[in-house]
């Protein structure tokens, strides 16, 4: 039985015009879908970029059909120039990190489900919410524009290390207009993210419905909340960094550019800037950004896994505690990206210790998830498979962190493919697996239709095996000292490794192709999939107590009251094997 009231107050009335409904909507659900759509477009662009890079690495002299149409200068006759490779690499990294890994698991699902999971009718500040999406959208447009300016996108990587990124055209192609667009886009993106974080925090603190104590919030909500706090502080640091960079580039200041630099035979008119300052500012944002990408997926998996294991998550409080611990530690470790950067060698140990200590909460989280699988009656649906896959890739990506966290090993492994393998596994693949799990799990709620299971399973198996074929060999390349960010392998010791790169390229093409199964499934099910019931997975959290898709005010005027935690699965002595959060029945057993 649920408490209802006939005339609930809503902060804003349902819009009628198409524009207000679907474009400039204040509805967190629409905004969530908009974020998801943006991430979807971005991820496929990023994927195609990675394809082009992989093909060039394996077969550098192959003309790629049509590439000269995209950029006649960048790929004369379809053969990629070194700078164009770096342009594509920069755009791949930037688009994936900012517009996919930050948007999909956090902004998209968070916007849609955080208010519903705490029983609110919308975000605290719907107008800011709308602004945050459209700001992000503008940032994306500005970023993509870089493909079409005369000297192409920047070539300084997603980390945009100064002074390469701070000097302009003398530093090389793409570093004039392209780099300006990059810096402006990221600055705009920061503003959008800050607005989003503001909403997430205020909503979680103030709009929880009756009975929804912090300890009763689903783990996904917890993850989004912690992530919001992290990103609020992280993007508040990246924004100043971008402002200073833009000033160095356009106003002739010298924040990051040192004296007496000679580029393209021109003595640069800067003096006394600190190169390391950029690195410190960037990584103070950049490392927390890793957790902005992964924490929501951890939360999503922790929420979804028990649903299909049909038993409660092991150690709910420990899980939440670990997320908070990770968020806290993430601000003490940025220097581990800079062991060999020329900063004071003593500080290396100061950064190394907390970095290694992050592995403790991470390990606990993993063990708790594994422990949840133990003795379960697993329902092996697609979302369940992606949760298990998440655990596997998270382990694979996590363990390599032990190496890179040690300065003495970083001396050898820094800037090699070992690093590429590490962060792709732990940050990219793990996070994306969380997004896939979330998509298959929540699509029925978001669109009112089930996704196709057969296609879903094909998608899982191809992707799961594919990512291991792509990224596991990169560890071996790293052990052999294969440097990253090379557009071709001309060093004597790298030439024997080219066959490995060919293998990786083939795996990447295949795995990428498999993603079109997902895309097709998503679009096809949206219109043709079987109609979803209110609670198809027999889950407990609040979004399953309302219709699929939820009405404009989420609960159709009803006002939810919460009596249970989100973790009540495998309950005995109940008519079902689970108890909804809104169900007032007392749980006696266990």
């Amino acid at each position: 039985m649920q408490e209802t009231s006939q005339h609930a107050v809503h902060q804003h009335a349902p819009p009628t015009s198409f524009i207000r409904k679907h474009v400039f909507s204040l509805d967190h659900k629409v905004i969530g879908k908009q974020y998801y759509g943006l991430a979807l477009v971005a991820v496929f662009i990023g994927m195609v970029l990675s394809w082009l890079m992989r093909i060039h690495l394996a077969w550098p002299t192959w003309p790629i059909p049509g590439l000269d149409k995209l950029s006649a200068v960048g790929a004369p006759g379809g053969v990629m120039t070194p700078e164009y490779y770096l342009s594509l690499m920069t755009m791949h990294g930037t688009i994936m990190v900012f517009f996919v890994l930050t948007n999909a698991p956090f902004a998209a699902f968070g916007n849609y489900f955080l208010p519903i999971q705490i029983g609110a009718e919308d975000m605290a500040f719907p107008r800011f919410n709308m602004m945050s999406f459209w700001t992000t959208f503008v940032a994306f447009l500005v970023m993509v524009t870089a493909f079409f300016v005369s000297d192409g996108p920047p070539i300084s990587g997603w980390t945009a290390y100064a002074p390469l990124s701070a000097i302009g055209k003398d530093a090389g192609p793409g570093l004039a207009m392209g780099q300006n667009l990059w810096a402006i886009s990221i600055a705009i993106f920061c503003i959008g993210s800050l607005l989003g974080a503001l909403n997430f925090i205020a909503t979680t603190l103030d709009l929880r419905t009756k009975g929804m104590s912090l300890s009763r919030m689903p783990y996904s909500t917890w993850a989004w909340f912690v992530t919001a706090v992290i990103s609020l502080l992280a993007f508040a640091v990246l924004l100043p960094a971008c402002i200073l960079l833009i000033l160095d580039r356009t106003a002739g200041t010298s924040f990051f550019v040192a004296s007496g630099l000679v580029l393209s035979d021109h003595l640069q008119p800067h003096s006394g800037g600190s190169t390391l300052l950029w690195q410190h500012l960037f990584w103070f944002f950049g490392h927390p950004e890793v957790y902005i990408a992964i924490l929501p997926s951890i939360g999503i998996v922790a929420t979804i896994l028990p649903v299909f294991a049909r038993k409660p998550l092991l150690g709910p409080r420990a899980t939440i505690g670990c997320m908070i611990a990770i968020g806290f530690l993430s601000y003490m470790v940025w220097g581990h990206h800079m062991f060999v950067s020329g900063m004071n060698p003593f500080s290396a140990n100061l950064f190394s210790v907390p970095t290694l200590f992050i592995t403790i909460p991470a390990t606990i989280l993993t063990l708790l998830l594994i422990g949840t699988v133990y003795g379960a009656k697993m329902r092996f649906t697609t979302p369940a498979l992606f949760c298990l896959g998440f655990i596997s890739v998270f382990i694979s990506g996590g363990v390599s962190g032990f190496f890179l966290a040690q300065p003495s090993l970083d001396v050898y492994l820094h800037a090699t493919y070992f690093v590429v393998a590490h962060f792709h596994f732990v940050m990219a693949v793990a996070s994306i697996f969380g997004v896939f799990a979330g998509t298959y799990f929540w699509a029925p709620k978001m669109f009112g239709r089930m996704m196709n299971e057969t296609l879903g399973k094909w998608h899982f198996w191809l992707t799961f095996i594919g990512v291991y074929c792509i990224f596991m060999p990169m560890h071996y390349l790293g052990m052999a000292g294969n440097v990253r960010r090379y557009s071709a392998f001309v060093d004597d010791y790298l030439i024997p490794l080219i066959p490995v790169h060919k293998f990786i390229t083939i795996a990447a093409l295949a795995t990428g192709a498999a993603q079109f199964i997902f895309l097709f499934n998503l679009i096809w099910s949206r219109f043709k999939g079987p109609i979803a019931s209110d609670n198809p997975w027999e889950a407990t959290s609040l979004e399953w107590s309302t219709s699929s898709p939820p009405p404009f005010d989420n609960f159709g005027g009803r006002h939810m009251v919460v009596y249970q935690g989100p973790n009540e699965y495998g309950v005995e002595g109940s008519d079902k094997d689970y108890v909804m959060q809104t169900s007032p029945e007392k749980i006696v057993t266990r």
Binding site: P60, T61, V73, P76, G77, V79, M80, T81, P82, E83, Y84, D151, K169, G172, P173, S264, D265, H266, A488, V490
Partner: protein, 239 residues
């Protein structure tokens, strides 16, 4: 009948005269030749270490030297551009394109004179990517890479300028595009000699430009199809 022939003849004469009147001035048969020499001790040209680019290194049996002050026997000075800087009539750029090669990680030729708006074709004959970065100031600067096997870069320069060219991938690769107004120019060879041909009679200012030691000028008057000598001597320093 007769009138017809007469008419045709007049037309032919008129047309011929018109052609004579309106065509370019006939290329003169005068010429200027001479030798570029130096006084003093020239700086020692440094050997270039190409080991980082094996495909280029193995094309050279003897170590390649820097070419900023290229000297020859008898104090000869190479790579000096001699051209008519004043007194020459306006004339359009030749139709055939100038060719610039990147071979063995060197620019060939080291100094390439050409006429403004003349076609320029840049080839990469090496098995490695090159990057052409003309550091133009009057004209517009650009910076393009040329992977092995990609088509030649077709371009041209609008205004006269001495443009240093560098390769951003191989820092030792340096050359010059010398873009001139006149079509009458020459480059001194290894023996320092040069000859500017096809000069119509007239009063000329001849300039000689060396990338490190700048420009010198002389006045030369050509009358008819004679060859006037013009020698230039540059003062060089060891450092």
């Amino acid at each position: 009948m007769r009138t017809k022939y007469f008419l045709a003849l007049t037309i032919a004469v008129l047309m011929g005269g018109g052609m004579l009147l309106f065509a370019n001035p006939p290329a003169g048969s005068g010429s200027i030749s001479g030798k570029i020499t130096y006084t003093g001790t020239p700086p020692k040209m440094k050997p270039i270490d190409m080991s980082k680019e094996p495909t280029c290194a193995k094309q050279h049996t003897t170590p390649v030297l820097t070419e900023n002050v290229a000297t020859g026997p008898g104090n000869a000075l190479q790579w000096v551009v001699v051209y008519i800087s004043a007194g020459d009539q306006e004339s359009s750029a030749p139709s055939q394109a100038e060719r610039y090669d990147q071979k063995g990680c060197q620019y060939i030729p080291h100094v390439l004179p050409m006429v403004a708006t003349q076609e320029l074709q840049i080839y990469n004959d090496d098995q490695t990517s090159h990057n052409i970065h003309p550091l133009a100031k009057v004209n517009s600067e650009w910076n393009k890479s040329q992977p092995p096997g990609s088509p030649p870069i077709d371009t041209k320069w609008e205004k006269p300028e001495f443009i240093p060219v560098k390769c951003n991938i191989h820092p030792w690769m340096h050359g010059y595009f010398v873009v001139l107004k006149t079509t009458h120019y020459a480059v001194s060879g290894p023996d320092g000699s040069f000859e500017i041909k096809g000069l119509p009679p007239g009063k000329y200012t001849v300039s000689a430009w060396q990338e490190q030691y700048g420009t010198q000028t002389q006045d030369v008057t050509i009358s008819g199809s004679e060859n006037k000598p013009a020698n230039f001597t540059f003062k060089v320093l060891p450092y």
